[in-house]
Amino acid sequence: MTLSKQEWIDLEKKAAELRELCIETVNWAGSGHWGGSSSCADILTLLYYKYANFDPKNPTDPDRDRIVVSKGHVGIVLAPMFALLGLVKKEDLKTFNHTGSKLGIHLDSNKVVGLDSSTGSLGHGSSLGLGMALAGQILGKNYKTFVVLGDGECDEGSVWEAAMATAHFTKKKRGAGNLITIVDRNHNMIDGNTEDIMALEPFEDKWKAFGFETIVVNGHDIPALSDALEKAIAGGEKPYCIIADTVKGQGVSFSAGNYKWHYGALDEAKYNTAKADLAEYAKIRIARAEKEGK
C-alpha cells in the first residue's frame, strides 16, 4: 500500500464529502445522474486531491496535469468536486440545472475554470485527452492527462479509434504514454446491464489487444485504486488503462447496483434515506481505513 493511514482516512473523508455534496446537488437540481456520479466519486477524489498535479489556486497552469471526464453526464458530481476545490461557489450548486445557471448536466469548460474539457457526447474524451498528451510533448511539458471513461461509453467506436492511436503514438514516443485511461466499470447503462445491452466482456482483453497495459481494480477501494494510479503514473512501454470495477449508485441502498438510478429524482423520503445511507457507508469505509491503515 502506498498510502499512509492518515492519507487514506483523509481521502475517505473527502470521498464521503463529495458524495454527500453530490446528493445535495441532486436534491437542489430536482434530479440528476446520481448512479454514474457515485460510481466515479472515488476516482475523482483520488485524481483531484492526490494524484493529478492540479493546484486549485492556479487552475490554468500550463504545466498542470489534465483531467478529462469523458462521461460528461456526471456534471452533478464534477460541479460539487469543483465547489470543494473552491473553483465553483457552493451557492451556485443550488442553481444546478436551473434556467440560466452556469452549471448543468454537462459542464461547460468555458464556464467552469479549471475544467479541462467540455464533454457530453460520449466517446470524445479519449481523443481530447490524447490531443492534450501529444501537445504536452511538443510544448516541452511533462504533464499527465487522465481520461475517465464510462463503461457503457465504450460502445462508441471513437473510443477505440483513440485507443488504437494512443498505443500507436506511445510506441512512436510522441507523448501519448502520458495519457492514463480510467474506466468507471459500473456495469450498467441507461437501459440495463452492459452485458445485456451490448456486451463489453472480455473487456480487459479488448484493451490489451489495443496495446494497453491494464490494471483491474476495485474502484471504491482507495488504497487499491491508489496503487493502480501510482503504477500507471510511473508508466511503461505501453499506455495504461485502469479498469475500475465499481457499483453504480454506490453508497445508497436503493440505488447501489440499480441501473434505473442512471438518472433519477429524489423525493423527501429517498433524500433522507440517501443521506443516512451515505453517512453509514462513509463510517464503514473510514473504520476500515482506521483498522487496516498503516
Binding site: 474539457s117 470524445h124 481523443s127 501537445a135 511538443i138 479509434e161 492511436a165 510522441r174
Partner: protein, 336 residues
Amino acid sequence: MAGGITFTAVESTKLAPAEIFGKTIAELGSSDPTIVCLSPDLATSTKMGDFLAKYPDRFFNVGIAEQNMIGIAAGMAKAGLKPFASCFSVFASLRALDQLHTDVCYQNVNVKIIATHGGTSFGQAGSTHHAIEDIGVVRTMVNLTVICPADGMETANAVRAAASTPGPFYIRINRGFDNVVYNSSDYGFEVGKAVEMVDGTDITLIACGSCVYQAMQAASILKFDHKLSARVLNMHTIKPIDREAVLKAVRETRKLVTIEDHTIVGGLGSAVAEVIVEGGKACLLRKLGIPDKWSPIGLHEDLLAHHEIDAEGIVKNVLEVMKQDIEKDEDWGDEV
C-alpha cells in the same frame, strides 16, 4: 507579407490550392511553433508533405479516423497548440461533425480545418466523396468561420487569416487545379468581406470557390454578347457573410444569382437569401448549384456544366432571370 510567403502568379497556375495550402502551412510553421498538422492517412492527398518534411515532430498521421483526428486537434488546441487538420470535406463535415460541433465549436478552440475535395471536385468518386452539403452543415456551427476560397492565392490568404485569427475555421478547397482568379495575393482579402471582382448594374452574381472564375467568365459573355452589366462578388467567406455587400447588390441591381458547387439547400444561396429576406427589400434571386439530387459522376468541369454552374450555364440562367418581372418602384404597399 506575413510569414514570408511569396507565391508568384506563375507558381499559382502550376499549383493546386491544396498544394498552396501545403506550402503556406509549411512557411507559417517556421514562424509559429504552435502550428501542428494532422491528417487521416491523407498527407499526400491534402499536400501536407512539405510540413511533414520540415517539422516531423509536429505532424500527426492518425490513420483513417476523422473523428479521432478532430478530437485530438481540439485537445491539442486546449493545451495551447494551433492544429491544422485536413481531410476530405465530406468527412470533415459529416463523419467528424459531432467532434466539430462539441469539441471544436462549442469549446471555441483554435482548430483550423482544411476541408479538401470540396463540392464535386472529386467528381469521378461519386456521391460518397462529393461534398455537396458541407457548407450548409458547417455554417450552422456556432463560432465557426467558414471560407470557400476562389483559387490558390485566396487559399493562401485564407490559411494565413486562419493562422492569425483565434477560433475555429473551416476552409473548403477543391481537389486538383482550379482556374486562377487572382494573380497576386495582394488584393485586400479580409475575412467576412466580399470582393467585388467585376462591377455591374443589371444583375449581381454572387459566387464562392471555383464558381467565382465561372461567374467572371459569365460576366464577360454577358457584357460582350448580351450587353448586360453583371456585377460579380466573390463571397469567399460564407460565415460570417458580408451582409452589406449583399444588401448593396439588392439595392443597386435588384436581381441576383448565387453560384456554388454545393446543393442549393443550405449553402451560399441560402445564406444570401437569409440576408435578403431580413433586409426587407424585394428582389429576384436564383440559386444555382446542385439541385436537391445526387450528382452524377464525372470530371469536375463536366459536372459544373451539367449543373449549370459553369460560365455557359450561368449565362443561360441570367438571361432567364433578366426576363422575369420585378417591381421597379419603391412603393411596397401594394405588395403587402
